[in-house]
Symmetry: C2
Subunit: 196 residues, 2 copies
DNA sequence: CTAAAAACATACTAGTTAGTATGTTTTTGT
DNA sequence: ACAAAAACATACTAACTAGTATGTTTTTAG
C-alpha cells in the first residue's frame, strides 16, 4: 500500500494544478487522466466520483498548505501587523506556485462550488475560518501587547484583510500583471498602520 | 425590427440570470432556450456563438447597470467618503437583484473567463476600470475640498475598496448569510474614516 | 508459495454539449 | 400586394462528459 498512495497523490496534485488553471467544472476527468497517465479504472478505484476527488484536493492538499504557508507565519511572529503584511506580501509577490492570472485557489473554488455543493462549501469554509481565526488570534495578542489599539475588532479586521486579499487576486487577473499587487500592498500597509 | 430586439433582450436577460446563478460554463445554451422559450434557430440568429452572447451580456446589460447603480451615486454626492460607504452598503444590503449566495456578477465573470478569453477580459476590464476611475475621481474631489487627507492616493484607495467588495461578496457565499456584510461594513467605515 | 484482496486497465454507455443544415414563417420596404 | 430580407423553427451531428462493467495484473498476508 505504498505505490497506490503515490498514484492517488499524483492524481490529486496534477488535478489540482489543472483545476487551478482551468477551473473545476471545465477540467474533465479525461483531462486529468491524460496528464497523469493514469487510467480510468485507477481513477475510479481511488475516488468514487469527481466531487469526492475535489473534496480530497481541499482536505489533503489545500489544508496542509494552509497550515504551513498561511497559518504558521501568523503564529510565530512577534508583531501581528508586520506578520500580516509580510504574509500577504509573500503570497502575492514571492510565492512561486500562485500565478497572477489564476487567482487564489480557495477563492476560485469558493466562487465555483459554494452554494452548489454542501461538501465543498463545508470544506472551504473550514479552511477559510481557520485562517481568519488564526489572524484574529494574532491581532488579539497584539492588542494585549499594546501593539494594536484596544478598540479594534480582531475578527472584523481579519475578515476585512481576507476579503481584500481574495479581491485583489481576482482583480489582478484582469490586468494580468503583478503591478496591481504593489498598489494594493501600499494601501494595505497604510490600513494596517491605522490599527496601531 | 422591434419584436426581434425583444427576443434578443429576453435572451440576454434570462441568460444573465442563469449565469449569475450557475456560472457561465455550466449554463448551457439548452438551459437558456428552455427558460426563454426561444428556439435554437432564433438564438443562433442573434448570436454567432455562446461567447458572443456572453460579451453582449457584459456590454449591453452589465455596463448600463454599472453606469446607473455604481457610477452615478459616486458622481452626485457631496462627500466621497459617505458616498462610497453608502454605495457599498446599498450593494451589499439593499440591492434586490444581487444575492448573497451568488456573489458579484462581474467578479464571477472575471474569475471564470479572464485569462481564457481576451474579449471577456477586455470587456470586464473596461467596466471595472470605469468604476475605479469614477471612485478615484470622487476621492480627488474630496481631497480638493479638504474632506480627504492630502497624502492619500486616490486610485490606490479605489482599488483597495473594490478588492474588498469583490472579496466580501465571494466570502459571504461560504456562510450564505448577509451577517458577514455587517461586519465588513463596520470595518470599511472605520477604514474610510482614516482617509479624513 | 499461494490465495485473496488491492490496484489498475480497457471497452463501453447514456446523456449532454455547442453548433449546423435546412427548412418555414414573419416582417419590411416599395 | 409582393418580393426580399429578417426572424425564427426543427432535426440533426460530432465531440465530449461522468460514470460503469468487466476484465487483468500486482501486492500483500499467512
Amino acid at each position: 500500500m505504498k505505490k497506490a498512495a503515490g498514484t492517488r497523490l499524483n492524481i490529486l496534485q496534477k488535478a489540482f494544478e489543472l483545476i487551478y488553471e482551468k477551473g473545476y467544472q471545465t477540467t474533465s476527468i479525461d483531462d486529468i487522466l491524460a496528464t497523469t497517465q493514469v487510467t480510468k479504472g485507477a481513477f475510479y478505484y481511488h475516488f468514487r466520483n469527481k466531487d469526492e476527488m475535489g473534496i480530497a484536493i481541499i482536505n489533503e492538499l489545500l489544508k496542509p498548505t494552509l497550515a504551513s504557508s498561511f497559518i504558521a507565519p501568523l503564529q510565530n511572529d512577534k508583531n501581528p501587523i508586520e506578520a500580516i503584511y509580510k504574509l500577504i506580501h509573500y503570497l502575492l509577490i514571492e510565492d512561486e506556485f500562485l500565478q497572477v492570472q489564476h487567482g487564489c485557489p480557495v477563492a476560485n473554488f469558493t466562487q465555483e462550488m459554494a452554494s452548489w455543493n454542501k461538501d465543498f462549501n463545508d470544506a472551504l469554509n473550514d479552511i477559510t475560518q481557520q485562517w481568519i481565526k488564526t489572524m484574529a488570534a494574532a491581532i488579539v495578542k497584539g492588542k494585549e501587547k499594546g501593539q494594536i489599539r484596544d478598540d479594534i475588532n480582531a475578527k472584523q479586521v481579519a475578515m476585512f484583510v481576507t476579503s481584500g486579499y481574495w479581491g485583489i487576486r481576482n482583480f489582478a487577473k484582469l490586468e494580468n500583471n503583478k503591478k496591481v499587487y504593489l498598489s494594493y500592498l501600499k494601501e494595505l500597509k497604510r490600513y494596517l498602520n491605522t490599527l496601531k
